[in-house]
């Protein structure tokens, strides 16, 4: 079972600020996913990255997969209150392994 470490655990910022959250592991992933979860609901997929060095953009969110496919980052530009939530990374080592999730970064964006 891979261990995914996410940092920071908690982040409280004001609207308009930029932020970056990280997901790290000692294992190599065949793919890595980022989810966002709101209280009382299930996580919803934001993006999947599969190639080392890959960068994907989703509006104000930028996702990067490390060259060695062991780590990933999520950068949010000009955060908005609607970005508030729990951000989870999840990785799969290869076929035959279920997705394992990190403990998440809880983000609070205040107006």
């Amino acid at each position: 079972t891979q261990l995914l470490k996410q940092s920071p655990q908690f982040l409280s910022i004001q609207e308009g600020e930029n932020l970056t959250v990280y997901c790290n592991s000692s294992s190599v992933f065949s793919s890595l996913q980022w989810y966002r979860q709101e209280p009382g609901e299930g996580p919803v997929l934001l993006v999947t990255v599969v190639t080392g060095g890959e960068v994907k953009k989703l509006k104000r969110l930028t996702f990067q997969f490390g060259d060695a496919r062991k780590d990933s980052s999520l950068h949010i530009t000009a955060a908005q209150p609607g970005d508030t939530g729990l951000y989870l990374c999840a990785g799969g080592e290869s076929a035959g392994y279920a997705l394992n999730f990190g403990k998440g970064t809880s983000l609070l964006v205040t107006p």
């Binding site: 009382g40 609901e41 299930g42 989870l88 392994y97 279920a98 997705l99 998440g104």
Partner: protein
């Protein structure tokens, strides 16, 4: 389109009572099915997963069990609940490994 149903949404059970949470998936066949538990808004702990009818893999030894009596039905059970079984339980499915997981709305279980 595919949908996943999980019920009940909330449950309060006394210590020592049995548990049965049900999850069904529609619109797909032979999905991978998962049960996760989440404590206090933190990360998801994988409890069980299944790649087919009657096949269950357990990730964490505990007071819970899972069954898959039909292709798109996944059940989480316990014979006697403990206080430590309280948490937010999520059912999910995916079409294969390392692909997007689709989650149900979750069950908030409180053992008292």
């Amino acid at each position: 389109s595919q949908t996943i149903h999980q019920w009940p949404a909330t449950l309060v059970q006394p210590v020592g009572s049995p548990l049965s949470l049900e999850c069904t998936v529609e619109g797909t066949s032979n999905p991978n099915l998962y049960w996760y538990r989440q404590a206090a808004g933190r990360g998801l702990q994988l409890l069980f997963y299944s790649v087919g009818i009657g096949q269950i893999s357990s990730e964490v030894p505990q007071n819970l069990s899972a069954s898959r009596p039909q292709d798109r039905q996944f059940i989480l059970s316990s014979k006697k609940l403990l206080l430590s079984d309280s948490g937010f339980y999520l059912c999910a499915w995916s079409q294969g490994w390392n692909t997007e997981a689709f989650f149900g709305q979750g069950t908030r279980l409180t053992v008292v």
